[in-house]
Symmetry: C2
Subunit: 344 residues, 2 copies
């Protein structure tokens, strides 16, 4: 009896939550209170705005569902995002909130919107963009499509952890005073140079629901997962070195239009429940594998950057670098959950 699986919904999967309908509000209250030196919440909305955004720079707005923390709101601050529009768990925020974010960060230099390639986000952000343009704002949009599990068809690729590289490069360009056209160009270039692929050993469970979003057998992992969604294929779990090798093989695959080049930035991104120890083990193999291919790593990032609730697993994002992208990826940034110091 005591071992019976509970099915009360509210506490399924033993989450540390209250009423699941309040989880986003409660998270935002905790986040904004903790980071009040860096961010504020726009009144009456779920828009998180940087305190630091100086006038006279292009405004950068990202947005999407919550459940991916520290993405996206943890990257609001100096040298990264000026505002993030927070949706319900794994759900797009409404267009009205996006519009409020645009108005909040447009100091006359225009605004770039950055979203992952999900139908709801694309629809709502486009709607907000059109409304804002009609009201006289200069607004452009970059849809991030770094997911390579879907293969060569860019339109079907999702936006995954590699989004971080797009935000980082655009954030650096905007911070240095680039125009909206220039930041738009950097966004397109960073997105084209970035590719991501993930692996999961257990799925996420949305708060308030009764079961995981999909299932993975006890001896298997799933290759090509998204941030919550299932992936391409399932296979028996193997040593992580072999899994990293397989992911890299996909990432550098000839199916992709452009090569990565000889120098990259790397991200080993934890999906939520995988220990940092394991991420560093994977990082070690990633660098070895790339070295064997004659690809050198300019800068690495390891940690939980873009999670999917309690999903176990990780993704690898690679961005091919030229001198411009190296300069931008190395630029200083300070946000609640990311820091890179001034150039030495």
């Amino acid at each position: 009896m005591a071992r019976r699986r509970r099915d009360d919904g509210d506490l399924s999967q033993k989450k540390f939550i209250n009423d699941p309908r309040n989880i986003v509000e409660e998270m935002l209250a905790g986040f904004v209170g903790t980071h009040s030196e860096q961010v504020r919440r726009l009144d009456g909305s779920r828009v998180i705005v940087a305190l630091s955004a100086p006038p006279g720079k292009v405004g950068l707005v990202a947005g999407g569902g919550s459940g991916h923390e520290p993405a996206l709101l943890g990257y609001v601050g100096v040298g990264l995002l000026d505002a993030v529009v927070v949706g319900e768990v794994f759900a797009s925020p409404p267009a009205g909130e996006v519009l409020a974010a645009i108005e909040a960060v447009d100091s006359g230099e225009g605004v770039l919107l950055m979203i992952g390639n999900y139908a709801g986000d694309v629809m709502n952000f486009e709607m907000a963009m059109e409304t804002a343009r009609a009201a006289g704002h200069s607004v452009e949009m970059q849809v991030v499509t770094d997911d390579v599990a879907e293969g060569g068809d860019v339109s079907s690729r999702r936006g995954l952890a590699g989004s971080f590289f797009v935000w980082k490069c655009c954030g650096a360009a905007a911070e240095e005073g680039a125009s909206l056209d220039e930041v738009r160009r950097v966004a397109r270039k960073a997105n084209a140079a970035t590719r991501t692929m993930g692996v999961a050993s257990s799925p996420a469970t949305v708060p308030g629901t009764h079961k995981p979003l999909f299932t993975i057998l006890e001896n298997e992992v799933e290759i090509g997962v998204g941030h919550g969604e299932p992936g391409l294929s399932r296979e028996t779990i193997r040593p992580v070195d072999e899994i990293v090798d397989e992911l890299v093989e996909h990432l550098v695959s000839a199916r992709l239009k452009d090569g990565l080049g000889k120098e990259v930035a790397t991200l080993i991104n934890g999906l939520g429940a995988t220990p940092l120890m394991e991420l560093y083990v994977a990082q070690r193999r990633l660098v070895e594998n790339l070295a064997d291919r004659g690809i050198s790593v300019h800068r690495s990032f390891v940690g939980n950057y873009y999670t999917a609730l309690d999903m176990a697993g990780f993704s690898i994002a690679l961005m091919g670098l030229d001198e411009e992208m190296k300069y931008l990826i190395d630029a200083p940034a300070t946000t609640a959950h990311f820091y890179t110091g001034a150039r030495s």
Copy 2:
């Protein structure tokens, strides 16, 4: 058949690892490669040393088992630790490695060792301290005892996530040029002012072992857990607000010798597998609860600071603050996994 629980040991619990005997070495390779601008590995040892440590300051050395990442090695850098001695998973490092760390960071101003209150660590670090003293080094040691699940008997309290506050305060004091005696005084004061208590919904599994370290029923949580070890009591899972309230009740309990005072620093520390979203929900309630008690929060930290592999749950650490401790907790620090900017 396909659903049979695997029992091959090496891949139990679907960890992303290779041979579990190599996990610490492989993690260190990934970590040092990623953060080579901030740390180096002492040749032939598992000691991670800050590149930045200026001569003419007291050296700060912490150490203990691995499996707690980003603790402890993620806190090597400016304004925090000068060296960390890394043991096997959940196991103390040998005295010889501690001695090597002392020799590496003693620039003539002496060294303070900081460890949690675990028998193996206490034995090995004391042995290293005696040897180093015999060789002419000035060495002192602070055993951190922030765990309050064990009640009023300080000698039986473990060192838990509140250790971070002790490291932070000592790191700030040393950075500002305090003498070994002064840093030793700060360590004692910070430890006395800090208390931690945790809750887990699922236990950790050590790589290469066949089963979790303990069990928790599907509808229960365990109160008073350590970093891997079981706790005080089990109870049916409830809304997280009630769990936070219960933990705070323990933390401010009259069983404790000294009061917390009216101003505190707080840490909501994820144990490894619990989403950041849930940590911020708990943070919101923590601040509310303390406000109801007339205790104000000077500074908050939320995230995976001191984990226990894939344990799900979190701990709350509180440190009572006076003006000196506020100054030290606010001081700038830059390490691989922690950043606080210069005073504004």
